[in-house]
Symmetry: C2
Subunit: 343 residues, 2 copies
């Protein structure tokens, strides 16, 4: 009997997409992407995405406050809409509630959901509840919209493109480290910064909309699984490869300090840690300066070139600071990471 | 500390809806209804609904095949769209997968999801997976659409209206009884009929669309929690009461035979059993014959008058066959039912 763990998350998704019938014409982007793009015959395309968060898999109930959890659940879905350059509009919330949960927990959770919804310009319009004899489950379903002419998908990367990323990578992984090992000695402002990155991530909504509207970007995705894995998705869908320059990966001093205290590699956290919710995208190298200026002027966010798209389908090469080259096994990332994500 | 069980499902929903900010203009029907109605500026309204199904709460893994489970999950969401008179279009599927599940289970589940999706005219366009250390969770998000002029909601019932229902009530509850007590002695065709009603319910999609388009119906809902509870929702939202004539409730001979074998009351199963996924609606008494003729000619479904809307807000009276009157406590149904549904 083949087990789910033998396939892994992306293997299951691929298997499922082969089980589904052909995509009808009103589905512009269907299964396999983070966001479905649908044609309602309205002036805009409709975007639909969901993300199921399970206690003890995605979060520990004592490691995050219910308000933070509510904010995070909205933020990670908004991040997917941001990576298409879309506008979030409406959300439905499904809850599987263990009976030991207090009413106050629900109140606080909704305060968090509302707070992030308001910031992101969306309304919570419904949902469903059930008792669960098991872990707390929160599944958010987010609808958004985008202009028909300028939304971004993952399959447009071209050989020769520069690979770019907004902000810093690895902070969220550093925050998780401090949750698991609160005894690690780091300055208070470092602790605050990386915990915030992990517990209340900030989706790059304005940046995504700006990049899509600029028409200068070829492919975009948010960094939810780690840049190595997410760049792998772009490469797979686009039929290209990539080389990543490890020395250029933007890593904050806070992340470096936590990694040092934990005797871990900040570069590995940045490559595979995940949950950074920054934007990863490709563009013609001649457009890089214009893009950096545009984003920095409009939003203040930094945009860094971290690599290049190459004509080696499915192959990602990491160039170490000393010039040596490493090839993680397959485009889907380091093996140990794949292990960690397997359902 | 107030516990979730003190509030009950509908109490939690009410509390949540008070926590949410005011509904923006593009939300035609928001939280509290089974389906959100949204204005995308397109030619139709967008409908959005979800339903989370949790192992050991909504189903037992050995009591239903993965294919039946897939069909049922789609069917119960389609039923909500049907009750608005809408057309299902697109679905996303979120799964919480225990690691002991086989790949074959997922394949079969998707065969079921696809089969019902195809029959109901919708496509599965995405979703999300997670591992879960606990029960299997399937959460389906369904998008549909409806004409702006003729969709039905629960709050339009008027004093003097007839209360009508499609098909028979109680079959699904009878099917559940046979799952719990397979030793009960009933004819094979009875067993087949009530098990099918429970395991592979048939949403009244054509009937709902026909009723909405007829413009003869004032309020509609599907019978998912039992007619007593669902009629309670219509009454609460419409600010009216109702009297139900127990002798007129349509109960199949199969349901009666199972109830007899189980020494239970088929009327109680019909009132409170739930999961029948028939349509419950109100209309002016002068329209009843036209409605019955219309539905019967176009779909073959029977439509039965089971009661009347009265000017006693929140009050539901059940008239027993011998003429005595019973008042279940509050519009939300019998107490023992409320107990059964509490998260």
């Amino acid at each position: 009997m083949m087990r789910l763990a033998d396939l892994g998350e992306f293997g299951i998704i691929e298997r499922i997409s082969r089980l589904l019938p052909a995509t009808p014409k009103d589905v512009v982007v269907g299964i396999g992407d983070d966001v479905a793009v649908l044609d309602t015959s309205g002036p805009n395309y409709l975007l639909a995405t969901c993300d199921i968060q399970v206690e003890n898999v995605h979060f520990l109930r004592h490691g995050i406050s219910p308000q933070q959890l509510g904010r995070k659940v909205v933020a990670i879905n908004v991040s997917d809409i941001a990576a298409m350059g879309g506008r979030p509009r409406w959300a439905l919330v499904s809850l599987g509630l263990p009976s030991d949960l207090s009413v106050t927990f629900i109140d606080e959770l909704y305060h968090g959901l509302n707070a992030q919804a308001q910031v992101s310009g969306l309304s919570i319009v419904g949902g469903n509840l059930s008792q669960i004899k098991g872990p707390l489950v929160i599944d958010l379903f987010l609808l958004g919209e985008c202009d028909k002419e300028c939304f971004l998908r993952r399959d447009g990367a071209r050989t020769g493109d520069a690979v770019l990323v907004t902000g810093d990578l690895g902070d969220s992984r550093a925050g998780m480290e401090l949750l698991m090992h609160p005894e690690l000695q780091v300055p208070e402002e470092v602790r605050t910064q990386v915990l915030a990155a992990h517990l209340t991530p900030h989706p790059q909504l304005a940046e995504g909309q700006l990049l899509a509207a600029s028409r200068r970007v070829h492919a975009m995705l948010d960094v939810s699984d780690g840049i190595l894995s997410d760049l792998g998705h772009i490469c797979e869908s686009s039929g290209v490869g990539a080389s990543l320059d490890l020395a250029k990966i933007p890593i904050s001093s806070a992340c470096r300090q936590v990694a040092e205290a934990a005797a871990a590699s900040p570069e590995e956290w940045a490559l595979t840690g995940g949950e950074d919710y920054q934007l990863l995208f490709t563009a013609d190298p001649t457009e890089v300066e214009a893009i950096q200026a545009l984003v920095s002027q409009q939003t203040g966010a930094a945009v860094t070139v971290v690599g290049r798209i190459v004509a080696a389908p499915g192959m990602i090469t990491v160039i170490e600071p000393d010039g040596t080259m490493k090839t993680p096994s397959g485009a889907s990332g380091w093996d140990h990471f794949k292990q960690r994500k397997q359902p």
